[in-house]
């Protein structure tokens, strides 16, 4: 390392130590940049792919109001994807490059979106559990050391609380409806519970990158800490819903001041993230089709812009 590199690194580390933000044109270690690009891109892909399971119910929502709400929610997720791609682009990658990496399976998205939405209650369970888990993950990211990512997260977190509440509202109505509706709500929660807990990633002793990400101020809490926060928040809410969580070992531990939970089947997590989930093929195929079939729109808009270049304001 040359003397200037050492000085630059010292400056970078001092900025992190002072809990100040790194901005796009600051010098940063290559590994910090690469980690952020991977994490932000994966996060953006998750928002975009995450539209699919819920969009599955837009045409079949039980009322016009529910349909309008779900449309607004799914549109928000598209927006989240766009904020995040914009944040990733400040690190010197191109959005088109990131699409390419998603489409060729070189970058991943959250494994939760590889599960199907079988009933209307699944839309409720996604809002309450999946968006709830996303919020738990994302709130600390609002203080992430990389400025554009932190700012995107602040915007996203403001919008997420509506997502979780609309999901809770769906489940509450179903749970307090007819016995069949109650059963449908319980079934959805039973299916989404364990995959939701896996959203926080592998346990701390199997998560080799956590320490570095925490040292860089990208991550503020470990996977297990976030998972615990989420469980502690959700259990009392489940009681209000009148629904149970499918874990016989789930109980309050007064000594720890937290809920204890049963073992998570990590083999399922690895199977799904490596392509073996129920919907992996379908999600990616749908995404690629939508992108390919939309090409003529993008080309037409570019042709129109080229024709009018010089007369337009730009």
């Amino acid at each position: 390392m040359s003397e200037t590199d050492a000085a630059l690194l010292a400056r970078f580390e001092a900025t992190i130590a002072a809990d100040e933000r790194i901005e796009p044109r600051d010098w940063m270690p290559d590994a910090y940049r690469a980690t952020l690009i991977r994490q932000i891109a994966q996060h953006a892909h998750s928002e975009i792919i995450g539209m699919q399971p819920e969009a599955n119910w837009i045409t079949r929502a039980p009322s016009l109001l529910r349909k309008a709400i779900l449309l607004a929610k799914v549109q928000d997720e598209a927006g989240h994807g766009l904020y995040l791609y914009a944040a990733a682009e400040t690190l010197g990658v191109d959005r088109a490059e990131l699409f390419e990496l998603l489409h060729t399976r070189k970058q991943k998205y959250s494994s939760i979106f590889n599960y199907p939405t079988l009933t209307w209650a699944d839309v409720g369970a996604i809002g309450w559990l999946v968006d709830g888990a996303a919020i738990t993950n994302q709130v600390p990211l609002c203080r992430c050391s990389y400025g554009p990512y932190a700012r995107a997260m602040i915007r996203i977190c403001k919008e997420e609380s509506f997502h979780q509440r609309q999901g809770f509202d769906i489940l509450y109505r179903l749970s307090h409806g007819t016995p069949a509706q109650h059963e449908m709500a319980q079934d959805a929660v039973n299916r989404w519970w364990w995959p939701t807990l896996m959203m926080f990633g592998p346990p701390d002793d199997q998560s080799p990158h956590t320490a570095q990400s925490m040292a860089w101020g990208i991550k503020r809490f470990t996977n297990d800490e976030l998972r615990q926060k989420f469980i502690d928040m959700i259990v009392p809410q489940a009681e209000v819903l009148g629904l149970t969580l499918p874990d016989p070992q789930l109980r309050w531990n007064p000594e720890r001041g937290h809920y204890d939970h049963g073992p998570i089947d990590w083999s399922e997590f690895y199977r799904v993230i490596n392509g073996g989930g129920p919907c992996n093929e379908q999600r990616l195929r749908h995404r690629i089709e939508a992108y390919t079939e939309g090409a003529w729109v993008r080309e037409a808009a570019a042709a129109y812009a080229a024709k009018h270049a010089g007369t337009a304001a730009a």
Partner: protein
């Protein structure tokens, strides 16, 4: 000391350039940078910016500027570019010690 923002001149492969988005949250406030969008032209950039950044009434006015037109100072906080501001403490009211008799100024 003055240079183009180097990584902000990208186009995606459809030839849609990047635009920086500035939003006035309400009357009486200045436009503030909100993020960026890709768009083929200014009209589409405004529409995309509206859809992406103002879904909940976050703005009453939007500016979009082609990112390549942004001229930026060097990002370095210790840059001599900002030195002229550093040694003029007398520009701040706290530099002046007022006699006790003056209650307020």
């Amino acid at each position: 000391m003055i240079e183009q923002a180097p990584q902000r001149e990208r186009r995606d492969h459809d030839g849609w350039p990047l635009w920086e988005v500035f939003i006035r949250p309400r009357r009486g406030l200045a436009h503030v940078h909100a993020g960026s969008v890709h768009a083929p032209d200014a009209v589409m950039a405004l529409r995309n910016a509206r859809d992406v950044y103002t879904r909940r009434g976050e703005g009453v006015s939007i500016w979009v500027v082609p990112s390549r037109h942004i001229v930026a100072s060097s990002p370095d906080e210790k840059d001599p570019f900002f030195d002229p501001a550093a040694d003029k403490v007398y520009r701040h009211p706290t530099f002046y010690v007022l006699p006790k008799e003056v209650r307020q100024m």
